[in-house]
């Protein structure tokens, strides 16, 4: 009873709450880091150094009036933010934050579940998330959101191909689709896959930027051209759900990148015995540190790079990243066969 029901429910509750808190603080971190990059202070008023700003933002969004445009398609308009949010959250079911640990005299795994098709699950659930964006733009019955949602979905579909192809080369390295087995394979081979698959790593990261609609690929939210984006007609908490989904997706991309390319919960140089003292640090801390580095780079990129033009975006996706990903996949396969024989 406890093992089959109470512990999973507890884990799900912890992961969901931690994610939502992390998302709100990601917004603050983003504002702070960008402010520092531009020699400003960022939010300073609410709490010391503005650390209570997310609370104020959440309260503000919740008490704002919720408007549905009179010509909107009401059912779809209501469903769109939910459809955007749910896939972003259920991906956490397969992300391994750590190995099996003993907690209060009980063996507990630091992941919700480890399914045989873990990585495919991540990809397929993420591919459903695009509906939230398309439907938001369509149901608003308004020009700019429709344009933005067409841009966003074309971008998502294009970059999904490249990202999925890089995942296949990682699967070839690990010989498994399960997220836990992929981390174990990195432990066995004494090297993080990021070092043996640098091209896949870079393509995954660039594709991840594009898939989360982040700068420099944030065309769906180009304020100057689209007065906002696919969420222009949304207000209050529904608008907030889109932002929660976007930041939750950023955390997903960071976690998946950490798991696939940076050894998940493994400490640096897991095979060097001299660094054994690092084992005092709990394994999930390594996971969180690595994911945080990714999230920081996401913000850093936004503060640094200007936005691409739409044709440039498509050219990078189809003519650069996808051929590179295919070539990388072929080379990985050949090398693997040569090493095996």
């Amino acid at each position: 009873m406890i093992d089959s029901f109470v512990i999973p429910v507890l884990k799900i509750a912890i992961v969901l709450n931690a994610t939502l808190v992390a998302v709100t603080y990601m917004v603050l971190l983003e504002r702070k880091v960008i402010a520092w990059a531009q020699s400003r202070l960022g939010p300073m008023r609410v709490g010391p150094y503005g650390i209570l700003q997310p609370v104020a933002d959440a309260v503000k969004l919740m008490i704002k009036e919720d408007i549905t445009p009179s010509r909107a398609d009401k059912w779809v308009f209501t469903a769109a933010p939910i459809i955007a949010m749910v896939p972003a959250l259920i991906i956490y079911a397969v992300i391994p934050f750590g190995p099996e640990v003993s907690l209060f005299g009980r063996q507990v795994t630091l992941y919700i579940t480890d399914i045989n098709v873990g990585l495919l699950y991540v990809v397929s659930v993420a591919s459903v998330g695009v509906y939230g964006i398309i439907l938001a733009g369509y149901s608003s019955n308004s020009k700019y959101p429709l344009l933005a949602s067409l841009r966003a979905s074309a971008q998502l579909i294009s970059y999904e191909v490249a990202v999925t192809l890089t995942l296949v080369s990682v699967i070839l390295m690990a010989g498994s689709l399960s997220m836990v087995s992929i981390v174990r394979a990195q432990e066995m081979s004494h090297v993080w896959f990021g070092f043996v698959q640098p091209i896949a790593f870079v393509i995954f990261f660039v594709g991840g930027l594009a898939e989360t609609n982040r700068s420099p690929f944030d065309l769906p939210e180009a304020e100057q051209e689209l007065t906002g984006g696919f969420h222009t007609e949304y207000s209050g908490m529904r608008f907030a759900l889109f932002f929660l989904a976007e930041y939750a997706n950023m955390i997903v991309v960071s976690s998946v990148a950490t798991t696939l390319f940076l050894g998940g919960w493994l400490r640096p140089f897991p095979n060097v015995a001299a660094l054994g003292f690092l084992d005092i640090v709990p394994s999930w801390t390594w996971f969180l540190i690595k994911s945080f580095v990714f999230l920081y780079v996401f913000i850093w990129v936004r503060a640094t790079l200007p936005r691409y033009r739409y044709d440039q975006l498509m050219r990078i996706g189809w003519k650069l990243l996808i051929p590179l990903a295919i070539a990388n996949l072929v080379v990985t396969g050949i090398v693997k066969v040569i090493l095996a024989s």
Partner: protein
Amino acid sequence: MGEAIAFYTISAFILLFAVLVVSTRDTVHSVLFLVLDFLFVAALYVLLGAEFLAAIQVLVYAGGIVVLYLFVVMLVNLKRPPEAHQDPHRRTKVGFGLSAAVLVELAAIVAYGYAGPAPTPPAAAALPVTGNTEQVGWLLYTSYLIPFEIASMLLLVAMIGAIVLAKREL
């Protein structure tokens, strides 16, 4: 018992959404019901222990093909009613014909499927690999290699055909 309840619930939803797909007036809503239908079909695959197929179902159908449907539906002008065919009862006739064909097919399956000996399952137990994905891959590249290759050639031909049709000059 639990499995039967799950099966009948999921099947009921599949049928309900399938009916809604064809009965809804709004084309976008109809496409959305199609997505829900595909998701429930994926649930049916999970129930059968075919996790790989379930994930592929969601990835390819719900996440890929239907997104393209949605694009087409959103971009095509649906305000204009379709031009009436010369024969106003054509749709009814074709519908009856197709329904009758499906009925005969189902009857044939029930009649011959139950009368004859149970079809021998492919030697899944004898496979040298374990795990859902590995077994699917093994079967595709050994027993079913030629159908697999033909299917992939067909897809390639279809893709090139689409490009040829869409591009005025190559």
